[in-house]
């Protein structure tokens, strides 16, 4: 009997939760704010779905509501991607300046 591909995706999902669990516990508490902004940025990988929605063709060549919703979702996700990674970079840059001589 063949295994449903859903089971494989579920396996990836469950294992990723465990990876996330261990990786996040090792994040130093002083970097919890950058952690939130970077998780924000990476969860915007949902843009992948938005691009598919935006580019989905239809027979008469015009735009469907589905396309337009895709475009909007692309913009929203892009705000997050650029905003999230850049603001994280900006924050982490500040942590760079460490150990001054006393």
């Amino acid at each position: 009997m063949e295994i449903d591909p859903f089971i494989f995706r579920l396996s990836i999902f469950i294992l990723s939760i465990f990876i996330g669990y261990y990786v996040v516990w090792s994040v130093t508490p002083s970097l919890h704010t950058p952690l939130m902004s970077v998780t924000n940025a990476i969860s915007s990988v949902i843009i992948v779905g938005a691009i598919i929605a935006g580019l989905a063709g239809n027979s008469d060549g015009g735009f469907t509501i589905s396309n337009i919703l895709g475009f909007l979702a692309i913009s929203l996700a892009a705000v997050n991607i650029f905003g999230g990674f850049l603001v994280t970079q900006r924050m982490l840059q500040m942590y760079k300046k460490k150990k001054k001589d006393k």
């Binding site: 939760i17 130093t28 919890h32 992948v48």
Partner: protein, 464 residues
Amino acid sequence: MSANLSAIFYLISGVLFILALRGLSSPETSRKGNLFGILGMTIAITVTFLSIGTFSNGLIYVLIFLLIGGLIGAYIAYKIPMTAMPELVAGFHSLVGLSAVLVAISAFLNPEAFNLGSIGSIKLSSLIEMSIGAAVGAITFSGSIIAFLKLQGIMSGSPITFRGQHLLNALLLISIIVLTYLLCLTQSSNYFWILLAVSFLIGFLLIIPIGGADMPVVISMLNSYSGWAAAGIGFTLENSALIITGALVGSSGAILSYIMCKGMNRSFFNVILGGFGAAEQSTASGDKEHRPVKNGNAEDAAFLMKNASSVIIVPGYGMAVAQAQHALREMVDTLKKNDIKVTYAIHPVAGRMPGHMNVLLAEANVPYDEVFELEEINNDFANADVAFVIGANDVTNPAAKSDPQSPIYGMPVLDVEKCKSVLFVKRSLSPGYAGIDNDLFYKENTLMLFADAKKMTEEITKNL
């Protein structure tokens, strides 16, 4: 590009995202981690374009919208003051939620484009995944909007409660399950729209009863939700990058919520059910307030600190509100010139989001190796001469250790009272968010400095 090849690339992005989070285990590796994240995102987006192959006339629009969003995001990232990070993160969460909703609707309206079947006969599993993604996305969206409004001060930070609130929420949550079931049974789009509307409502109702100072938990929780929403959509789109990311973000937010709850010694449900603070207010404004306090000025504070050999700074949300972090650093610099040892003690729930104080201190160029977490530094208070509490209150309240009647009893607190003397920079004697009095104010060795945190710090520096 073949489906298998693109799936491999999505997997690579997923791994890069894991490395991005891994990098945050120390400030040295964190910037490289962020680059891994950017690389992962770039790969995911590029692969999506390549896998579609034949471009419809939509391509130009896709790029335009990508650019518009990117420019807005970049502008915000450069302009936002560090004190506004909690609002920014809440706002960003709402965008993730909304885009999940939009993608779900889009997939529902045009299932062929996503290989999910056709309108009226969408695959059952896809329909369930889509409903979960859309519902969680909608809850994330409206919840984050409320959190944003509360953090911005547009909406009052005090909890809004009404009779039957929990019952209503429970009923709405059950209705989500019923609606999903009906949707799968009939494939009727009406149920899908009602499902979305109910989810938006739940997000709204879930956050309004939660008070301003519980925001660290709320933000972490919404962070987690945005991850689960992304994972739900990932299942619908059969995209491993989205599934991995969703799981990572979901568990990350959940862990942060847990850490925040532990920092307040409250259960997650206790926070979510809300209403904390409102009920306690009445007991707080009792006669205790009339006890005498020692009122000091900047000169007294400067004198105390100048004669100390070690000072511990305890920052709180008040420092963020007054934007006093730079003034504070200048004061500390002056102290250090006088050979006084200065360290910073951060309580897990200080501020309005996890790590809020650390970012502000980093912004003010405070080296991160002078900043310590509660467990690391709590024993040092007994040996320190002066504790300088700036804009914090409840996290120093000894009642959490001594008074079982206190609403914050059991909460881990900073042992500020063990210092030889305590300086409290505060605008007034008003109780903190928990609505309880702080015995520390009336202690023999406590000096209250009633002023704006920034102005007071600047004046102390002048007097040093």
